[in-house]
């Protein structure tokens, strides 16, 4: 199995070097690096993550500080721009670059936590559905079908409509929305693996249900799940921004990218940068993650290449 997650076997003392396989990590990196777009995406995301992690030090200003004398200052390369506010300021005189950097923090946080919050229950439900195809499988899958009948953003809107807007509710809504794809993927992968001989062997060796699920089968189902996690990370960022834009997500004055866009709408005729830059940031981040996802898919699971 070309399983990049499996631990590399430590080579026994002096052996013929031609017989040593490259470590799975190296092998994976070589396959990933062949995709130029994926490497570019990774590089861009590294910058974004760096900015997000060290936002207070990277950002030139406090994102909520209002410079009343500099309302709607254009970016530095335009007439009237100043180096003090490289990307200009918004309608309240807040530094756009600092807000975007702070927004990166928020978007990544929403993306990461919603992925974790849907990945774990998704895998558990998928494992249960796969291991008990008669007992639990049908009801779990029917439930997922129902959730899939609603377009993800609409379902998220519905959930936020119940819970009320806000950061945590956004995360919950997005996590619930992306649950079905994990369940379906895990179940499909589990069903495929369960018929393999190694699972039978483990059963015969007396492995308990927990061991079978998490130690024997699950590691071999990880490849499509990792790819899906990447892709749902990017759609989480998009959905969060969309909710913010609709006024149902993170509330102002928190500098969330979508929320920033919503309040910038009124200045569409006067200050294009207030509208363009947050959206461009969203587009580039999502694009970078999707490029990475493509690269991951090619590297981890060649079978999936034509699947999406």
């Amino acid at each position: 199995m070309n399983n990049p997650i499996a631990k590399p076997v430590s080579p026994a003392s002096p052996v013929d070097h031609s017989l040593l396989y490259p470590s799975p990590y190296k092998e994976f990196w070589q396959a990933f690096a062949r995709n130029k777009g994926a490497v570019m995406g990774l590089a861009f995301m590294c910058v974004v993550v760096f900015c997000a992690l060290f936002a207070p030090w990277v950002a030139p200003h406090d994102p909520s500080e209002q410079y009343r004398d500099f309302l709607l200052t254009p970016p530095v390369w335009l007439e009237g721009g100043t180096w003090q506010f490289i990307l200009g300021t918004d309608e309240l005189g807040r530094d756009l670059l600092s807000r975007l950097i702070q927004g990166a923090r928020l978007s990544l946080l929403i993306g990461l936590s919603s992925v974790v919050m849907s990945l774990i229950p998704g895998i558990l439900l998928g494992l249960l559905a796969g291991f008990f195809p008669q007992l639990l499988g049908p009801s779990i899958m029917r439930l997922m079908d129902v959730m899939l009948a609603l377009p993800s953003l609409l379902l998220a809107v519905a959930i936020v409509a119940i819970l009320g807007p806000g950061l945590i509710n956004t995360v919950i809504a997005i996590a619930i929305v992306s649950l079905p794809s994990y369940v379906r993927l895990t179940r499909a992968a589990v069903m495929g693996e369960l018929n393999r001989d190694y699972v039978t062997a483990a059963r015969l060796a007396g492995a308990g249900l927990g061991r079978l699920m998490f130690v024997t089968v699950l590691p071999n189902c990880m490849a499509p799940l990792i790819v899906q996690a990447t892709l749902s990370f990017s759609s989480a960022i998009l959905d969060a921004a969309a909710l913010g834009f609709l006024g149902l997500g993170v509330q102002p004055p928190t500098p969330e990218w979508g929320t920033m866009l919503a309040s910038a709408r009124d200045y569409i005729e006067r200050a294009w940068w207030v509208v363009s830059l947050p959206g461009l940031t969203i587009l580039l981040s999502v694009l970078a993650i999707n490029l990475m996802g493509d690269g991951l898919r090619d590297a981890l699971d060649p079978k999936l290449k034509n699947a999406a």
């Binding site: 777009g37 029917r142 439930l143 079908d145 129902v146 959730m147 009948a149 609603l150 377009p151 993800s152 953003l153 609409l154 809107v157 519905a158 936020v160 409509a161 119940i162 819970l163 009320g164 990017s234 998009l238 921004a241 969309a242 834009f245 609709l246 006024g247 149902l248 979508g258 866009l261 709408r265 569409i268 005729e269 294009w272 509208v275 363009s276 947050p278 959206g279 461009l280 969203i282 587009l283 999502v286 694009l287 993650i289 999707n290 490029l291 493509d294 034509n306």
Partner: protein
């Protein structure tokens, strides 16, 4: 064919009941007192409160409440809006044509451009055009469409002044809603220039809404076409001396369309979700804008049953796509 349709129809029923359960639960999960929520006001007089509990059936056990709900749905009673006191069904039906018109224009745009771009990219694999299509479609797929709409408005409406900023038709025109489809209604009316005005209003929202489906369709068409062009029957068709156009479109595309059609069907859901955003940006008076406004106004009957109707719509469209899929693919039709 009929048994094929019946089989697919049978699969819909449990999903439909699942949806009603979901929307039923939706309203019960709202934090706070249900009567206050339903009446849209705080601190209701205790006597009126009890009456309302009785009238709304909220004092019954949950299963009975659910049966009441489904029973009302079966009679076509979707409740009425708290804001307008109009029946939810009537409001939906008035606004739905606007969304349908927008969605159809978007799908038409996405389908035509996406198929063409995908086919040409596949035929010219590895060319500059191919790389361009692949790159642009990935960008389109990653596009925050609410921003994309703003950018297009900024460029085409504000800077160039080519298209109107919002709405379906200029206020100058007084169009009688005969069909609800502005393009048809303007043609039927005798207001001069109103049809052109309606088209101009439609272009930008349709492009915005069609962007993601366009990207998906172009990518899918390309990969499906590449696969089909390698098939033996394409070689057979060429060995028959058929023209390249006939080989590509009659023998290739027909088979390549089968997976594309499935994706097309899945896009309808995305499209309705996108309609929420697009309609908000362009002030397009459709069901997406209606739903968002209802959420803003805590108009829960509209939210609850609007979501139910949209979900049913998605299920219905997927059902139709399933049938089309069967028509396009004889192997599926004859299964079992």
């Amino acid at each position: 064919m009929l048994s094929f349709i019946a089989r697919r129809l049978g699969l819909l029923i449990p999903t439909f009941f699942g949806i009603t359960l979901l929307t039923f639960a939706l309203i019960r999960l709202i934090p706070g007192d249900p009567v206050e929520v339903m009446m849209g006001e705080r601190r209701v007089d205790p006597e009126m409160h009890a009456q309302a509990m009785e009238r709304l059936g909220l004092n019954k056990p949950l299963p009975a409440q659910y049966l009441d709900y489904v029973g009302k749905l079966a009679q076509g009673d979707l409740g009425e809006s708290l804001r307008t006191r109009e029946s939810v069904w009537r409001e939906f039906m008035t606004l739905f044509p606007a969304t349908l018109e927008l969605a159809m224009a978007a799908l038409l745009f996405a389908g035509i451009v996406g198929l063409l771009a995908g086919v040409i990219a596949a035929l010219k694999r590895g060319s500059l055009f191919d790389h361009g299509v692949m790159g642009l479609s990935l960008a389109g797929y990653s596009m925050p469409i609410f921003w994309w709409g703003l950018i297009l408005i900024m460029f085409f409406s504000v800077s160039l002044g080519w298209t109107p900023v919002s709405g379906r038709i200029d206020l100058l025109y007084d169009i009688e809603p005969k069909t609800g489809f502005m393009l048809i209604d303007t043609l039927l009316s005798d207001e001069e220039g109103s049809f052109k005005d309606a088209v101009m209003h439609l272009i930008l929202p349709a492009i915005v809404l069609g962007t993601i489906p366009l990207a998906v369709i172009a990518r899918m068409t390309r990969s499906s076409m590449l696969e089909v062009l390698r098939e033996d029957y394409v070689r057979t068709a060429r060995a028959k001396g058929l023209s390249p156009a006939r080989v590509v479109f009659v023998h290739g595309l027909r088979n390549a369309l089968i997976p594309v059609l499935t994706v097309f069907g899945l896009q309808v859901g995305t499209l309705l979700a996108g309609a929420v955003l697009t309609e908000t940006i362009f002030s397009w008076p459709g069901i997406g804008k209606w739903l968002i406004e209802a959420i803003g106004a805590r108009d829960y009957p509209v939210v609850q049953n609007g979501i139910l109707l949209i979900a049913c719509l998605v299920i219905l469209v997927n059902f139709v796509v399933d049938i089309l899929y069967g028509l396009a693919n004889p192997r599926i039709r004859h299964q079992r």
